[in-house]
Symmetry: C3
Subunit: 351 residues, 3 copies
Amino acid sequence: MEIIVEILTTILSQFQKPTLAFLIGGMLLAALGSRLEVPEPVYKLVVLLLLMKVGLGAGIAVRGANLMELAVPALGATIAGIVIVLIGRAILLRQQGVSPMDGMATAGLFGAVSASTLAAAMGMLDAEGVAYEGFIGALYPFMDVAALLTAITLARMSAARSIVSTPDEAGTATMTMGGNGSGFNGTFVKDILVDTLKSPAISALLLGLALGLFARPETVYASFYEPLFHGLLSLLMLVMGMEAWARLADLRKVAHVYILYGILAPFVHGAIGFAIGMAANHFTGFSAGGVVLLAVMASSSSDVSGPPTLRAALPEANSSSYIGTSTALGTPIAILSIPLWMALAEAMIAG
Amino acid sequence: MEIIVEILTTILSQFQKPTLAFLIGGMLLAALGSRLEVPEPVYKLVVLLLLMKVGLGAGIAVRGANLMELAVPALGATIAGIVIVLIGRAILLRQQGVSPMDGMATAGLFGAVSASTLAAAMGMLDAEGVAYEGFIGALYPFMDVAALLTAITLARMSAARSIVSTPDEAGTATMTMGGNGSGFNGTFVKDILVDTLKSPAISALLLGLALGLFARPETVYASFYEPLFHGLLSLLMLVMGMEAWARLADLRKVAHVYILYGILAPFVHGAIGFAIGMAANHFTGFSAGGVVLLAVMASSSSDVSGPPTLRAALPEANSSSYIGTSTALGTPIAILSIPLWMALAEAMIAG
Amino acid sequence: MEIIVEILTTILSQFQKPTLAFLIGGMLLAALGSRLEVPEPVYKLVVLLLLMKVGLGAGIAVRGANLMELAVPALGATIAGIVIVLIGRAILLRQQGVSPMDGMATAGLFGAVSASTLAAAMGMLDAEGVAYEGFIGALYPFMDVAALLTAITLARMSAARSIVSTPDEAGTATMTMGGNGSGFNGTFVKDILVDTLKSPAISALLLGLALGLFARPETVYASFYEPLFHGLLSLLMLVMGMEAWARLADLRKVAHVYILYGILAPFVHGAIGFAIGMAANHFTGFSAGGVVLLAVMASSSSDVSGPPTLRAALPEANSSSYIGTSTALGTPIAILSIPLWMALAEAMIAG
């Protein structure tokens, strides 16, 4: 009982902290019809700087890390990405009003990772003085790529199977990726992989990672990327809040199951990530902050890199269903539930 | 005599300080035909960050303030906004070549507040080490909304009266705001109020105010918004200077009285604000810096929030007359005359 | 032998420093086909802030400098700009497949100065703790304007001469600049000069210079422009790297001599600047850092101010040949060879 009170107290106190307060502020502005807007190039700059910061920090940390230490959480992140997509398929594809393509795209997006949400969680842990492994940013691509690859592969395989029975659609369905015209085959997985890695978010993260690993960017990291982190994060949260509210209207057009999925999935997926993190904590001493960040990554759905990748790979899917569900529900709920994982980790690990 | 020399010395020394120097630099660049330009999204980002900074600072200060202390200057700011518009109406509407709509729009814009000018004055006081009440930013909406509401209401009332005599124009004149089609009525004032509060500038300021008041944004304020303030202000002054020069050409097309009004109004309005501030100083111990800022707010004319609000509420007014007068004359003169109020306050309060 | 090893070691160590690492990172991203992009307004903001920083710093330094100290390097910079263009003409105009206009435009661009490259060199010297004269930024316009004026004047003179023999083209060839319609004459040089000074890059630099010289911007320089310098430089290098790679494709369309020129010119021109700097070092005690920066300015080719000036003044020249050569080869090679001049200066002056 005491633990629950403690958890609720921790959660409530976070709502006054800048990160969540700016998110809620952005939602309120949009809800009240403000004409305030953050220009697109500014949004892109903010995301670029935050991702580079996360990547550089991870790269610098990986350079000094024991690679085995990294291997366990990386495997865990990969497993989380795949499991989340498989659960999404099991749930969404048996619902009425959900086409297989739309369902797989939604499952893929919720399996992939939101850089903003991860940055928000890092900011909140920093502000609380909770330590986490410096290399955590390097886990992002493992979960993200695993989820997108799994979702796109399963969607294309199911489309290929339906082609056999309905040969008329074959032309459009098989020509969409890489233009190889030969349906599902080996180079297809590589094409998705390469396409995902080329997306702006993953590129920025991997660039930061590579620079942190192979160059010596410590000075510019300490004088520029790190000091600006919290301020840029506050701007990003503002934009995410406004964006989430603006997207709510999209949900009127989609099946009810998407709304239910968008609300519950962040909690279920976060719990999966949390459980994997707890296992790593048990066996390899993975930090409490690391467990929180793994839970948050699993809980989040991709907002920067996922949508264009899915749109390119699964053009038949209706983007307003999966992007609406993710942006209007998945992302804000994932961000707002960060304090839950913080409180849980504090109760279960420190205790 | 000595006081006048002292005042002139204070004024001259300010022209070498970054704030005014960047404004003059921007004017010179435009006058010399430079092709340098600051992209629109950058301008919007700078204004957003400055307004959030002013709002956050005010919100944090209001949280700890005695509300009665705030009430007197807030009332003063409201009165200043209304009085300035009434004076503007008395002067402008009896001039030849000034339509009632154009005159009221101009009076409203000069009664409203320029966030850039306020930020410039804060920057200059900070640099001189002159203290002012932290909640000053919270006075901005009182004066701004009072002036815009008064101007738009008077303009619509006079249009409604002329509709009675010239029924043909009724349709266009009464349908412009809120589309209620019933001429001037009660919901009309609320519509203007809501529309003004939704404008980007007031929204950003109120958002900062609310976050400062209800959340705990002290860390991100101190690590991001405050340190960047002076640098962003220098960029904004550069843009204002270029913009002022570019707008000068507009003035060739308007009646001479606008030019005279644009030059003199900042001084007359500033004196009104200064007098109200001095009264508050006398009765409630309002600070010298506060008196300066109230004078500057009264002296300034709106550049971010006013124009779109007026354009929406008074579509019959010729925007090149009121925006030209304000941007090319009112705003730069208000900024350049900030040292005058600083010198006056120093001579009258410290002395 | 030892000196060569030392030079190579110095060079290699620079490739891990942020400046070059971000440039190479940008190239790799583009080479690997990443969809990451830095929006145009962000790029413009970064360049504006860097140029203002260089200008402000130079202005503040010139204010306290002995003007004779500045005169010798300024003369050296002017001579370097002219000599580089004359060499370019001697080499390029006798090659097959190079039109006189294209050749002169390329020579002009390689004689002009790249603000990004200069900023990169300053950043690298700062990071190594190598001192240089504060006024160095003020030399930029001398070399830049001298090179562009020489190239455009020579190109227009040769076009005027060919007009005598082929009167049919007279109309188009002589009407391009200033529209005076009287062929080559006195006001023509002034027109180019004014046009060059109005270009965004030179304007921003001269504005910073004037503000540093006549105002007192020390506080905002120290609190904003200087602390952001290295971080913004890292972003700029990223963009330059991506841009360089993207422009490589242009080179397939141009004559081979451009490729050879683009690769070798930075080294030859840098050596000319280095020699002039060494002379100034010998006679007036010009610093080792100053020698490096003069070499880098000479080595670099203009990327911000030069192209639009040349496009306006020499519209007959094929911009894909000169901009392609400069952006894809000249600029990255000039940046990558900065460590060479640093190592040489260290070996020859400190030794």
